[in-house]
Each structure stands twice: as structure tokens, then as C-alpha cells.
């Protein structure tokens, strides 16, 4: 299938890209990996008048730890995340997520920020970044603004970005020594949208009590969401089986999955319980290893 015609621009700087975006209206789209956008264009469900290819903008390729944050630039691919020793060693949640996004070839081109902007309710990164308490840096001609990922993800395919803004980077707090995390996903086969996904990120204090916890749910409603009461249930406790089971039940209660070919609501709801428990168990193993 062939997309509708469109114009194309490949600016060399963010400044240039923002200028192109401004005034373009909703019909201009930023193109990074294009692994979600281009298929939609092929079905002609999307037909932007212009694609602004940001992959040739060096400053968007930032991928480093800096003053307490891991900075992930707009053009960093899932593959770069998956293959980075730093991610593998220090960010188990991001690593387990990166290695199950889409399929291994798509991961080489698709970007983390692009996936986040696409805001598919079944997107893996939304849940993971919510759990990791990440924030986004948004750029426009009028400057920069930051916000937690929770606020950035508004609704299905809808983010806090206005039409002349670009998601410049995602910032993930550098985990402390006693932090662990894990992403659990059910997919019918490699490359399928998640039937259900749960991301967990836990920091314990020196006595093993939970000092900080993030639980993000994927495919649990119109957009990725935080399992607030599950987190509340865990705060201050130790990661014992009882607490984990209770958190699983809470997460299941909070999830609002919709029925589709992946299964009915009650099945999906129970999967949030099962996956939350498994994600927290895996996280416990990591945390115990680190204490």
C-alpha cells in the first residue's frame, strides 16, 4: 500500500524543526522512527501534509546520565536502549521493557520518545516510564517545559504536546543502589500489541522497607496508567509475598481494560494481578541482590 502524497523536510537543528512545525497546523507531523506512523499512513488513516524528519538533528541524540537523570534524546531507538550496557546493568526496568517492544527489527528504528508521543494505550514505554517516575522535556519556539510522564500522557493517541511542540527528551531518575525494576508483558506473539503489561520499580531503604515504588499499567484503559492504590499498599512495607499479592489485587481492581481479540475484560483484569505479582517478585530478586 502507498501513502497519500506529502512533503518532507529533514532539518539539521531543533530550531529549524520547530520553525517548520510552527504554523503548520495539525497536518504536519514529526517523523522519528516512523514505525507506528508510517503503517497508519499506508492505511491512509493518517495523511499528514508534511513529515518533519528529526533523525538528522544531533542534539536530539543525547543518551547519558547527567545531574541525577538519565537523558534519553528524541531519536534514541529501542534498540540503542536494549543494547546499552549502562541500561542492562543499572536500569533493569528499562532493559526488560526495551527488549520486548515490537520486534527486534522494528526496535532498530523505532524510538522511545516517538512511541511515547504516539500514546498508544498498549505501548510499553508509557507504563515503564510511569513506574520509573520519568519526566519529559518539551520544546517549542517559546522555550522548554517539563512535566511528569503521567501528565504528558493524556488519552489514546493524545499527549500534552501542542501542535508546535516537540518532545525533546525523556529524563529518568538515576536509580539508587537499592532500586530494582521489571517489566512483564503478555503478547500473543512477538510484535503484537500487549494484551496486558505491568512495569514495577521499587526502592527500599537500608532496612528493606519500600521507600519509593512505581507501578505502571499497559493496555489497562484509554492510556497507560499508574496503579496508585497498589503503590499505596506497598509504600512502607517490605516486599513480602502478602504485600505483593495485595498489590496485585489492587492493580487488577484499578485496571480498566477493554475486551478485544486478545481476550475479555475479566481475563485481562486478572492478568494485571498476575503480572503485577510477577513483576514485583522479579524486582524483589534484584533488590535483594543489591542490598
Amino acid at each position: 500500500m502507498i501513502t497519500a502524497p506529502f512533503e518532507y523536510a529533514a532539518p539539521k537543528s531543533l530550531k529549524e524543526a520547530l520553525a517548520l512545525l510552527r504554523g503548520g497546523g495539525s497536518d504536519r507531523k514529526v517523523l522519528a522512527g516512523g514505525q507506528s506512523l508510517i503503517p497508519m499512513m499506508r492505511f491512509r488513516l493518517a495523511a499528514p501534509s508534511m513529515l518533519i524528519d528529526i533523525t538528522r538533528i544531533p542534539e536530539l541524540g543525547v543518551f547519558e546520565e547527567e545531574d541525577g537523570y538519565l537523558r534519553i534524546g528524541a531519536i534514541i531507538t529501542h534498540g540503542q536502549m536494549e543494547c546499552s550496557p549502562m541500561i542492562k546493568d543499572r536500569y533493569p526496568l528499562l532493559f526488560t521493557t526495551a527488549s520486548v517492544v515490537a520486534d527486534p527489527i522494528v526496535r532498530q528504528r523505532g524510538t522511545l520518545c516517538g512511541a511515547l508521543v504516539h500514546a498508544d494505550p498498549a505501548g510499553d514505554w508509557g507504563a515503564a516510564l510511569i513506574a520509573a517516575r520519568a519526566e519529559v522535556v518539551i520544546s517549542s519556539q517559546s522555550g522548554e517545559r517539563r512535566m511528569p510522564v503521567d501528565e504528558f500522557l493524556v488519552d489514546t493517541f493524545t499527549t500534552a504536546l501542542t501542535e508546535d511542540e516537540v518532545l525533546k527528551e525523556v529524563r529518568v531518575p538515576v536509580p539508587s543502589a537499592r532500586t530494582g525494576g521489571n517489566y512483564q508483558k503478555i503478547e500473543r506473539k512477538v510484535g503484537d500489541f500487549a494484551t496486558a503489561g505491568v512495569a514495577a520499580c521499587v526502592t527500599v531503604d537500608d532496612k528493606g522497607a519500600i521507600a519509593q515504588v512505581g507501578i505502571g499499567l499497559c493496555a489497562a484503559g484509554p492510556i497507560s496508567r499508574r496503579a496508585v492504590s497498589a503503590e499505596r499498599r506497598l509504600m512502607g512495607n517490605t516486599l513480602d509475598d502478602a504485600a505483593i499479592a495485595a498489590a496485585g489485587a489492587q492493580a487488577a481492581a484499578e485496571a480498566e481494560p477493554v475486551a478485544d481479540t486478545r481476550g475479555p475484560v475479566d481475563y485481562k483484569r486478572d492478568m494485571f494481578r498476575v503480572l503485577t505479582i510477577r513483576a514485583l517478585r522479579a524486582t524483589r530478586t534484584i533488590v535483594e541482590g543489591r542490598r
Binding site: 497536518d27 497508519m40 488513516l45 493518517a46 493517541f157 493524545t158
Partner: protein, 156 residues
């Protein structure tokens, strides 16, 4: 795919006013979200073109609507609509009943069933239901606001 919805909306205008509003293509038609153009053929038929825009998904739906009322059953409205666009089709059947409530207000009891065919259902089915619910809610919010605006508040 088939999407069923129903709800109850409270407005603080008299039932007659509310009924007159929702049975007036010119007024109720303008309450459709993302309305592009509205052609009213007669007092019971109108054609509307609405924008569909969810993230990258963009398109237009042409909706032909027909209203049926029955003087014997004042306060009851049947609305059927046929939509087409984005290589897809949509058929909506809905019923509305308006009841007086205490304090001169009115209650709009409505139910609607929409069936969607084509790529929108096949490709977008996973996301369709939520969107349909939002658009419907937006429509009733618009109706309520319009009524509050031009209808005298109850009691005064």
C-alpha cells in the same frame, strides 16, 4: 463492531424546551463535536460532516440523520443516522425520552447503538469504543450548555 451506550442527562430547563431543542436539526446538529458543515434538509433530516482526529488518525465522516417523533408520545425521539468516510461505514440508532424533574428541570434518558464497518472497525476496533463514548459525551455536554445558555434557568 457494535457499540452500545446509554445515559441520563439533567438539564435545568423545562422538558418542552429541551424537547424542542433536541428535535431541531439546526440546533442539535451544531452540538455534534468537530462539526465541519451542517446542511438541514427539513425539520427532521440533516446531513453533517464531522472531523475525526485522534492523534495521527485524521479523516472526515459524512453523517445523514433522520429524526422521528410521535405527537402521541410527546417527549420521545428516535434518531437514526448513517455515516461514511475513511473507507468505512457507520449506522446509529438511538432513542431519547425526556421526563420532567423536580424544580422545572428535565431529564434526558437516552440509549444508542452504533455499528461500525470497514477499516475503522477492523484496524481501529481496539480503540474505537472509548472514542465513541467520548464523542457522545461531548455532544451531550454541548446540548446541556446550549440549553443553559438560551433557555431560562428553571424556577426563575
Amino acid at each position: 463492531m457494535r457499540i452500545q451506550m446509554s445515559g441520563v442527562e439533567h438539564v435545568s430547563v423545562a422538558p418542552e424546551q429541551a424537547f424542542a431543542f433536541v428535535t431541531d436539526p439546526n440546533r442539535v446538529g451544531r452540538c455534534m463535536p468537530d462539526l465541519d458543515e451542517l446542511q438541514v434538509s427539513d425539520s427532521r433530516h440533516f446531513v453533517a460532516v464531522v472531523k475525526v482526529g485522534v492523534g495521527p488518525v485524521r479523516g472526515r465522516l459524512k453523517i445523514e440523520a433522520e429524526m422521528k417523533t410521535d405527537d402521541a408520545r410527546l417527549g420521545d425521539l428516535d434518531l437514526t443516522a448513517k455515516g461514511s468516510g475513511m473507507g468505512s461505514g457507520m449506522v446509529l440508532t438511538s432513542h431519547m425520552h425526556i421526563e420532567p424533574t423536580g424544580g422545572g428541570g428535565a431529564e434526558l434518558q437516552w440509549s444508542a447503538e452504533t455499528s461500525v464497518s470497514g477499516p475503522l472497525a477492523s484496524v481501529g476496533g481496539r480503540l474505537l469504543e472509548g472514542q465513541a463514548k467520548k464523542k457522545t459525551q461531548a455532544m451531550f455536554d454541548a446540548i446541556r450548555q446550549a440549553l443553559q445558555a438560551n433557555g431560562a434557568p428553571a424556577g426563575s
